[in-house]
């Protein structure tokens, strides 16, 4: 019994790290420019398809697929920023919601049209199969995703708090007019923020693709978790997303195992709402 519980917790932590990984981009965009990106799940989906293409055309795994997905998505992030986000940011909140939601549908159905509706999948042993640690089974692909989640979180946190680029980005987020007076160009800073956020999301997608199915609508399934993770962690807080992701992963796994999978969402969301009742800004968000 206790042995299985260890397995459940380990699995929950790995799951949580993955949740954190694909939530970091969402929280960054929110923190940097107060934009809720409803196309976030579809950015993850695009990252998965890049990984799939790399595998099916080159036969290569995430070693090539993940950096490439990061590059492709970062480029897309910049394009999306200049062609869409820059303009809708001037409009009301509703414009952001509709704008990014429209983008989500555009991306989803473009992939639909190109790849069709079939479920795709990468081979199970692309990232070294499953490790057996004293009877605790750990999928190498999930371990890799978890490790990258830690690195990405740490990297983004250092970038924002320890570098001049980070300070400039935060300055623009705080007061774009004042930043402009100090000689910082808000436009380029925000474009950089979008590139980083979308790049991290693409990276996440490429890694998730190694153990999840790939389908044009997969973004819908994942996006809900990302939004919950980000609001629990605190909108804009990258370390918050990591802690929140791990928490949700472990709670989900434990409640799924102990009480029953059908109730795991009830447990997670009641705890989530209860928590927000006491701390609406989330774990590490600024009030």
């Amino acid at each position: 019994m206790s042995f299985v519980i260890v397995q459940v917790i380990v699995g929950g932590l790995l799951l949580g790290a993955v949740y954190a990984l694909f939530s970091s981009g969402l929280t960054l965009v929110w923190g940097m420019m107060n934009v809720v990106n409803f196309a976030h799940g579809d950015f993850v989906m695009l990252g998965m398809y890049v990984a799939y293409l790399v595998y099916s055309l080159l036969g290569a795994g995430p070693l090539i697929g993940a950096p490439l997905a990061m590059l492709v998505l970062a480029t897309l992030g910049v394009v999306v920023y200049f062609s869409l986000i820059r303009d809708i940011m001037k409009g009301p909140m509703l414009a952001q919601i509709l704008g990014t939601f429209g983008l989500a549908l555009l991306l989803r159905y473009s992939v639909f049209w190109w790849f069709g509706a079939n479920f795709l999948s990468l081979p199970e042993n692309l990232v070294g199969g499953t490790l057996d640690l004293f009877g605790i089974r750990i999928q190498a692909s999930r371990l890799l995703a978890g490790a990258v989640a830690l690195v990405v979180t740490l990297g983004l946190h250092l970038l924002l708090t320890r570098t001049s680029l980070g300070s400039k980005m935060l300055a623009v987020a705080e007061d774009s007019t004042a930043a402009q007076l100090m000689g910082i160009r808000p436009d380029s800073m925000q474009a950089v923020a979008w590139a980083i956020a979308a790049g991290a999301t693409g990276l996440a997608g490429a890694l998730i693709a190694t153990f999840f199915y790939i389908v044009p609508t997969v973004g819908e399934t994942l996006a809900i978790v990302a939004f919950v993770t980000v609001s629990l962690g605190g909108f804009g807080s990258v370390p918050g997303a990591l802690v929140a992701g791990l928490l949700i992963g472990v709670i989900e796994s434990l409640s799924g195992y102990l009480i029953g999978a059908i109730y795991q969402d009830i447990v997670v969301y009641s705890l989530f709402l209860g928590f927000l009742w006491f701390r609406p800004q989330g774990l590490m968000g600024n009030s």
Binding site: G11, A117, N118, F119, Y213, V215, L222, Y257, I262
Partner: protein, 417 residues
């Protein structure tokens, strides 16, 4: 000037609408509405359904003498309506019962369809057919299996597929035979999602097995489109049931296969309840790590040159995929519906309803392995039946039970990967 333009355009539009209307009347087509999940998480199944109906339309609307006496194939169009063509208007239910209902309403009131078919997910068939009932339009489902669909006292609802109460017998008889052959089949676990399909089939199986003196040992429900199924797999691994019956759509079926491999979990026997496990993209994605999974089916490709083999070939040319049981049942349902319209000799819904009620098709007139098609008062096909198939090599299902229909002997235990 501008005003004149507008008036001119309006006139032109009015004239073209009038002309188009006339053209339709001369062409004589019968419109049938089809509600399927063309987008959303079940889009893979929905698009295969669409392709299946398009192949059926080709067979009906064009002459296909190579199909011999297969109903509706020989001549072009419907003989009973002076060679009228059949046109299917597809609508996307997006995987949502509310959308399915709205689309049914639109097809009936805007497109003026003579009958409806669909809607893949039982939960959506439930809502869409309620609209058809209200408007007095026949609704035939070829694939939705939730038992309660035909328990609503509806007058306009018909179903050709075998349903959950039939599966109880199929699975139980199969397991009894397997037990006689030496397999352990005492502890049966049900794993199912929380959709209309998942819960209703699980309930019917649980009640049915109990009635046969073999209560279900373990019942695991999970939310559909799960992001993770590890805790479910670990529960199974700990409880060690002899047989696991999986009632899942494609997304969860794939995730279950991947998670089972990661956790090194192989039950002695897995029986899949069709659905996700029949989706060609399930086999392509995880067939190689699901070797030996049993499944139910009413489809068999038959010998070369037989109508079923020709239909399968047409379907493969269109989709690139092998014909599967779900697409086959949808296609069969559509043929039964169009056959009734042909016999009714009219696109009047009441006459189609009467013709559906009088349906009496024999096995040789069907593409699916039913014992025939004949509806009871509730609209359920009383001659529907299914066999057990097995994914022995991870690529193609083969019929393994009952012995009379089997191509190969069933292999136990479950091999996995």
């Amino acid at each position: 000037m501008k005003f004149n333009h507008v008036v001119g355009l309006l006139c032109a539009a009015a004239v073209s609408v009038a002309l188009a209307g006339q053209a339709c009347a001369q062409d004589k087509t019968v419109k049938i509405g089809a509600v399927f999940p063309l987008s959303g998480n079940a889009a893979s199944a929905g698009n295969h359904a669409k392709a299946a109906l398009e192949v059926a339309m080709d067979i009906i609307n064009n002459a296909h003498p190579e199909l011999g006496n297969f109903p509706l194939a020989k001549n072009a169009g419907l003989a009973g309506l002076g060679g009228a063509k059949v046109e299917v208007v597809f609508a996307d239910n997006q995987g949502s019962p509310a959308t399915g209902q709205n689309q049914a309403l639109r097809l009936i009131t805007e497109e003026k369809v003579a009958a409806l078919t669909g809607a893949y997910q039982s939960g959506i068939t439930l809502t869409a057919s309620a609209i058809a009932e209200k408007y007095g339009i026949p609704f035939l489902t070829g694939e939705s299996v939730a038992a309660n669909l035909t328990e609503r006292g509806f007058k306009w609802f018909f179903r050709t597929t075998p349903i959950a109460t039939d599966f109880v017998n199929v699975y139980h008889d199969f397991l009894t035979d397997m037990k006689a052959a030496g397999a352990k089949t005492d502890n049966v676990a049900l794993v199912h999602d929380n959709t209309e399909y998942g819960t209703s089939v699980a309930n019917t199986l649980a009640t049915g097995f109990k009635g046969k003196g073999q209560p279900i040992a373990l019942d695991i429900a999970y939310p559909s489109n799960a992001t993770d199924l590890q805790s479910q797999v670990l529960q199974l691994k700990e409880k060690k049931p002899d047989v696991v019956i999986m009632i899942s759509y494609t997304s969860d079926a794939i995730l279950f296969a991947k998670t089972s491999q990661a956790q090194d979990y192989k039950p002695p026997m897995i029986i899949a309840d069709d659905s996700g496990y029949s989706d060609p993209s399930f086999i392509k994605s995880v067939g190689k790590i699901s070797q030996g999974v049993f499944n139910r089916s009413s489809w068999s490709i038959g010998p070369a040159g037989s109508p079923t083999a020709i239909i399968a070939k047409l379907y493969k040319e269109k989709t690139g995929d092998e014909m599967d049981d779900t697409a086959g049942r949808e296609m069969q349902g559509f043929f039964v519906l169009v056959d009734a319209i042909d016999r009714a000799g009219s696109s009047d819904p009441a006459k189609i309803q009467a013709a559906l009620k009088a349906t009496d098709l024999r096995p040789e007139q069907l593409m699916m392995g039913y014992k025939g098609v004949k509806f009871d008062d509730k609209g359920q096909n009383i001659l529907a039946s299914a066999v057990i198939i097995q994914l022995q090599d991870g690529e193609n299902y083969v019929a393994v039970w009952p012995k009379a229909n089997a191509d190969k002997a069933p292999i136990v235990p479950y091999k996995g990967w």
